[in-house]
Chain length 172, copies 2
């Protein structure tokens, strides 16, 4: 099975798929008499036609590695943002659109640090949450704030992969 | 100067002012083949007429105590949510609407824990961010994810208080 190489998550490397939510490199300005810095408008939240942006918490069980990437999903009608609420890294797998067929193409894997969120643009194929546990703790649960869409119409496509891949990740 | 009593933040006690964003007591259901629990739609995000919900990070310097509460503000056109990104408590001060005058009335102070966010409803008078430092560390900076409104029209009223109050808080 193909082993995916894992690259560092940066605004540049992730740009084809959406936004990296972090202070570094973002426009910012002081507010509240200089006691607070506002890093402004870090993701393109798209609730889509007749939709509204909602805020939820996903509490995810840490994955075990090697991890089999056997399916992908996408939300055609709205964006979906994940922001970690504990300072723990996690993995992000997205896919290019495949030429001419309505299915995920080439996969790309990213290591997101605990201070980095991601926002998938509408229609971007991605793997569901791949949380990473706290070091040396089994069955860690990690919380992510999620901003996505509520509204009419089917907004989740799932697609099994004809050729699953593998993520081999070790905390260092 | 009047010393504000500080109460624990709960969904019930905060209900007149907005939402407490936390898993406890929220509707939830399993997703991702049972590896993740979704605590669904935890706050009423209101971008208002012609507005859109945006996502920013506020990086706030820890306040020092006793802290003088000398002004309040409100956002008449949209809601504003704060979710702490480090597991550190913070303080929330809101006000009842005053009878017959367009200014903050009776103040209420809450201690929010590091796993609790708040969402101010449009028009609710509140004090700007009052971050609490890490124990024993001076000049701590704390990050909060903020979901508020971008759009046309003036959306911030500020009001000095004729009679300032004091928050006296000690970490225990």
């Amino acid at each position: 099975m193909k082993v995916l190489s894992i690259q560092a998550l940066t605004k540049e490397s992730f740009a084809p798929f959406g936004d990296v939510i972090e202070c570094a490199g973002a426009a910012h300005y002081p507010i509240n008499e200089g006691t607070t810095e506002r890093y402004h408008d870090l993701a393109r939240i798209e609730p889509g036609d007749q939709g509204r942006a909602i805020l939820s918490i996903f509490r995810g069980l840490a994955s075990t590695f090697p991890f089999r990437v056997a399916m992908m999903e996408r939300h055609p009608l709205g964006s979906q943002a994940f922001v970690p609420l504990q300072d723990r890294c996690y993995l992000v797998v997205v896919a290019d659109p495949a030429d001419g067929i309505d299915a995920p193409g080439q996969l790309h894997a990213f290591l997101a640090q605990g201070h980095q969120g991601v926002n998938y643009r509408p229609g971007v194929w991605h793997h569901p949450l791949i949380a990473v546990g706290a070091e040396g703790v089994s069955a860690t649960l990690s919380d992510f704030l999620v901003i996505d869409r509520e509204g009419p119409g089917p907004n989740c496509d799932e697609q099994p992969l004809a050729e699953p891949s593998v993520l081999d990740f070790k905390q260092t």
